[in-house]
C-alpha cells in the first residue's frame, strides 16, 4: 500500500536494513547448501509488503512502480538474496495481474511454456510436458506459465501439480526441470495485451540487469575494502597504481551498468518508444560488466577470493550465472544493433534522442 509514494532512498534504506538483518553471507551459504533459498528473507519481505511492489493493489500488490521494484531488486542483488523476488514481482505478478487474476502471496516462479501440451477439461486446463531451467521452481509455492498454443493463456499451477528435478546455476541458485503430467491449472485466463513471450524475456532481462548492477556494486565494494586492508611491500595494495587502475576500471563499468539499468526501468515504466532498446542495452551492459568486474575483483583479491571461504564469490558467481539468463550480451546487442540498422546513418542519432517526453 502506498509504496508508490515512498521515497526511493527510504525504500532503499529499509531494504538494506532488512537484507542486512535477514540475509548475511552465512544465510546465503546456508541457502545454497540446503533448500536453495532463504525463507526468512522472503517472510521479512512479505511482512514489509515488498514482494509485489509493482503489482496493482486491486490484484494484491503494493501498486508501486517499476522504479521502486528495481530499487529493491538492486539491494537484493547487493546482498545476493536467495529469493525469487524478480520472478515474483516482475514476471509472475505481471502475468497474473495482466490476465485479471489475483496474485497470491508466497514465492512464485514464472516461465514461458513453449512446447507444452494443453488439454481442455471442463472449464479448466490440464498441462503436460517439460520445462528446463525454471528459476526457483522447487521453492516457489506456485508457478505461472505463459502459453500461446492452443490459445494465449496465463496458467497458475500449484507446487503440488508438478514434479521438479532440481538443478542449479553456478551460484547454486535453483534452476530446475519441471515436469507436468496432466497437471490441472488452478486458474487460467487470457494474458494482458502486452504479455507476450518477447515481453516476458524483456522483463526477465531487466530484472537480471538490475540484480547484476547490485552484485557488481558489491564486488567493487569488496575489492576496494580488500585493497585498503591488504598490505604488501609495506603498504596497502590500494596504493599501487596497477591496482588503482583495476579499481577505477571496475568503477567505470559498474557505474555504466547501473545507470543503463535505471534508464531502462524509467523508460519501461513510462512506456517510452525506446524502452525495448533501453532494456536490451541495459542487459548488454550488465553482461559486459559482469565479465570485467568478476575478472578484476578476483584479480584484486588474489587467491583468497578464489576460495569457498571468501564472500566475494557470492557476487561473482551470480554475475557469471545471471549474464546468461534471459539472453546474453550477444543476444541483446543484436536487438540494439538491428534497431540501429533500421534507423540508418541519418536516423540513428534522432532515434537515440527520441525519448524526450521524459522531462523532469
Amino acid at each position: 500500500m502506498g509504496h508508490g509514494a515512498m521515497a526511493d532512498d527510504l525504500l532503499v534504506a529499509t531494504a538494506e536494513e532488512l537484507f542486512a538483518d535477514t540475509c548475511p553471507p552465512e544465510a546465503v551459504d546456508q541457502a545454497a547448501a540446503g533448500d536453495g533459498w532463504a525463507p526468512q528473507v522472503w517472510q521479512a519481505l512479505e511482512q514489509a509488503g515488498m514482494t509485489l511492489l509493482p503489482v496493482p493493489e486491486a490484484r494484491g500488490g503494493a501498486g508501486a512502480g517499476l522504479v521502486e521494484a528495481a530499487a529493491l531488486l538492486r539491494a537484493a542483488g547487493r546482498h545476493a538474496a536467495p529469493v525469487p523476488l524478480a520472478e515474483t514481482a516482475l514476471l509472475a505478478g505481471w502475468l497474473l495481474a495482466g490476465a485479471g487474476l489475483d496474485v497470491p502471496s508466497g514465492p512464485l516462479a514464472a516461465a514461458v511454456g513453449e512446447g507444452l501440451t494443453l488439454r481442455r477439461v471442463g472449464d479448466g486446463w490440464r498441462v503436460s510436458g517439460r520445462l528446463s531451467r525454471v528459476p526457483w521452481a522447487r521453492v516457489a509455492e506456485r508457478l505461472v506459465v505463459l502459453v500461446d498454443v492452443p490459445e494465449p493463456l496465463v496458467l497458475l499451477l500449484d507446487r503440488s501439480a508438478y514434479d521438479v528435478q532440481p538443478g542449479r546455476n553456478v551460484a547454486s541458485e535453483p534452476r530446475d526441470e519441471v515436469t507436468f503430467d496432466g497437471a490441472v491449472a488452478a486458474a487460467a485466463a487470457a494474458p494482458g495485451p502486452d504479455a507476450t513471450a518477447d515481453a516476458f524475456l524483456l522483463r526477465g532481462a531487466l530484472g537480471r540487469a538490475v540484480l547484476m548492477s547490485g552484485a557488481a556494486e558489491r564486488a567493487l565494494d569488496l575489492s576496494v575494502g580488500y585493497a585498503e586492508q591488504r598490505v604488501q611491500f609495506g603498504r596497502p595494495i590500494a596504493r599501487f597504481q596497477a591496482v588503482q587502475q583495476h579499481l577505477a576500471e571496475m568503477a567505470g563499468v559498474v557505474a555504466a551498468s547501473s545507470i543503463a539499468a535505471d534508464a531502462a526501468v524509467r523508460d519501461l515504466q513510462a512506456g517510452a518508444p525506446l524502452a525495448r532498446v533501453r532494456v536490451a542495452a541495459a542487459k548488454e551492459q550488465a553482461g559486459r560488466t559482469a565479465g570485467v568486474v568478476a575478472r578484476l575483483a578476483h584479480q584484486v583479491h588474489g587467491a583468497i577470493g578464489f576460495t569457498r571461504e571468501h564472500v566475494l564469490r557470492q557476487a561473482t558467481t551470480r554475475l557469471w550465472a545471471w549474464r546468461d539468463e534471459y539472453g546474453n550480451e550477444q543476444h541483446w546487442a543484436r536487438v540494439v544493433g538491428e534497431q540501429a540498422l533500421r534507423a540508418g546513418a541519418d536516423g540513428l542519432w534522432p532515434q537515440l534522442t527520441s525519448d524526450e517526453e521524459r522531462h523532469g
Binding site: E217, L220, D221, V224, G225, A227, E228, A238, Q241, V243, Q244, Q245, L247, A248, E249, A251, G252, V253, V254, A255, A256, S257, S258, I259, A260, D262, A263, R266, V277, R278, A280, A281, E284, Q285, R288, E329, Q330, W332, A333, R334, V335, V336, G337, E338, Q339, A340, L341, A343, G344, A345, D346, L348, W349, P350, L352, T353, E356, R358, H359, G360
Partner: protein
C-alpha cells in the same frame, strides 16, 4: 556508502529541450545542404570555422548559460547540453569557439572582474572571441603543478616567461588562459600559481604550430618571452590558480565531446551495414554493443551536467565519463575497421567511411590523453573510492 562518488543519478532534460533540439538540427541540416561545411570526426579539435561560430552566436547558441546582462542567453546548462550534443553528432566545425564556450566563459563568469566580464562575455556569446588554454609545458604534462612558466611582478602588471605546449588553436585564437607560477615554488606546490588572460598578439608571444599525425596543425608551442600582462588581465585571485583550474576540469571532462568525437564514424558504419542486403547477426551485434554503450555514456554525461548545473562538483564522476567515454571513442574505430573491412583512406571523399576512418584513426591517440590522461583520471577515481571507504 563507499560507492557514493561513483553513482550517477538519472537526469531529466528540461521541457524546452525538444523544440530547441529541433531548431538546432534543422539549422545544421540547412548548413550541410548549402555546402557550408562537410561533417567530420573530432571537429571540436580540427574544425575551425569562425564564420560558423558567428552564425551560432547570432542564433543564441553560444554562451547560452551566460546571463543576459553579459550578452548571454541566461539558459540552463542542460539546454546548452542539447545544443552541444547536436553540434557534435552532426560533426559541425565547432573548434573556434569550443574552449571559450565550454570553459573560459564559465571561468570568467565565476572568477573574472566586472570589467573582464563586460569585455569578454558578450564577445564569446557572439562567437567572435576565441581562447586557447595554456596548461601543459614541455616538462609538465600530467603533473600540472610542476609548471615553470614564471609571472614576475612589474609596474602595473606582470611579465610572463616560459613555454606552453599542446595548445589547441593558439595559432588562430586571440586570447590565451595561462597558468603560471607567480610565487617561487614552496612546500605547498599547489600554492603560488595564478591564471592570466594573455593577448596572443602581444609583443613577446611566439606561436609555433605542431603537426599531428594527419599532417595538419591544430596544436602549438607558445613561447612567452617577457610578455606584459596588465593587472586587469589577471583571472581571479593571485595565487588561486590551482583551485580555479581544477574547478574547470569537471566541465572539461564530462561533456559529450568525451564520447562523441568519433560518432560520425559510427553513423557511417551503420549506414554501410544498412545498405547491405544482409549485414549478418554478428555485425548487428557489434554495432549494437557500441550503440548500447553510447546510450549509457549519454546518460552518465547528462547526469554530471545536471549535477554541475545544481552547483555540485562531481569531479570523480566527470573523470569516469572521460575514462569510459574516450576509450569508447577508440573502440568505435576498432569496430569500424573490423566490421566494415574498408581501408582507411585520408584522401577519400570527405563524407566517406574510408576518410572518416582514416581521420579518426590518426586522431585517436589524443582522445585518451587530452584533458588529463586516463591513467591519471583512474588514479583520481581510485582515491575517491578509497577515501569514501567505511
Amino acid at each position: 556508502m563507499s560507492l557514493r562518488d561513483v553513482r550517477f543519478p538519472l537526469a531529466a532534460l528540461p521541457p524546452e529541450a525538444t523544440s530547441l533540439r529541433g531548431e538546432v538540427r534543422a539549422f545544421l541540416q540547412d548548413e550541410v545542404a548549402a555546402g557550408r561545411w562537410v561533417p567530420g570526426v573530432d571537429t571540436w579539435l580540427s574544425g575551425w570555422d569562425a564564420a560558423f561560430s558567428r552564425r551560432l552566436g547570432e542564433r543564441g547558441w553560444l554562451g547560452m548559460t551566460i546571463p543576459t546582462e553579459y550578452g548571454g542567453q541566461g539558459r540552463s546548462a542542460l539546454e546548452r547540453y542539447v545544443v552541444v550534443e547536436e553540434l557534435l553528432a552532426a560533426g559541425a566545425p565547432v573548434a573556434a569557439h569550443w574552449i571559450a564556450d565550454r570553459q573560459t566563459g564559465p571561468s570568467l563568469l565565476k572568477h573574472g572582474s566586472e570589467e573582464q566580464r563586460q569585455f569578454f562575455l558578450p564577445r564569446i556569446a557572439r562567437g567572435e572571441c576565441y581562447f586557447a588554454i595554456g596548461m601543459s609545458e614541455p616538462d609538465s604534462g600530467s603533473d600540472l603543478a610542476s609548471v615553470r612558466t614564471r609571472a614576475d611582478r612589474v609596474e602595473g602588471g606582470w611579465r610572463l616567461t616560459g613555454t606552453k605546449v599542446w595548445t589547441s588553436g593558439a595559432h588562430e585564437a586571440q586570447w590565451f588562459f595561462v597558468l603560471a607560477r607567480s610565487e617561487p615554488l614552496g612546500e605547498d606546490r599547489h600554492a603560488g600559481l595564478s591564471q592570466f588572460v594573455v593577448d596572443l598578439h602581444a609583443a613577446g608571444v611566439t606561436v609555433r604550430p605542431i603537426q599531428l599525425l594527419t599532417g595538419a596543425a591544430h596544436f602549438n608551442e607558445v613561447v612567452l618571452d617577457g610578455v606584459f600582462v596588465p593587472d586587469e588581465r589577471v583571472l581571479g585571485a593571485v595565487g588561486a590558480g590551482w583551485r580555479q583550474v581544477t574547478a574547470e576540469l569537471a566541465f572539461e571532462r564530462s561533456g559529450p565531446e568525451r564520447f562523441l568525437s568519433t560518432y560520425l564514424l559510427l553513423a557511417s558504419l551503420v549506414g554501410h551495414l544498412a545498405r547491405q542486403a544482409d549485414a549478418g547477426a554478428v555485425a548487428a551485434a557489434q554495432v549494437g554493443a557500441l550503440v548500447a554503450r553510447l546510450m549509457t555514456l549519454r546518460e552518465m554525461s547528462l547526469s554530471v551536467a545536471a549535477a554541475l548545473a545544481a552547483g555540485q562538483a562531481p569531479a570523480t564522476q566527470a573523470a569516469l565519463v572521460k575514462d569510459v567515454g574516450t576509450r569508447f571513442e577508440q573502440e568505435i574505430i576498432e569496430a569500424a575497421h573490423l566490421v566494415a573491412a574498408v581501408e582507411p583512406d585520408p584522401d577519400a571523399a570527405p563524407d566517406s567511411l574510408a576518410r572518416r576512418l582514416a581521420h579518426a584513426t590518426l586522431h585517436s591517440p589524443g582522445f585518451t590523453l587530452r584533458g588529463g590522461t586516463n591513467e591519471i583520471l583512474r588514479g583520481i577515481v581510485a582515491r575517491a573510492l578509497s577515501a569514501g571507504e567505511r
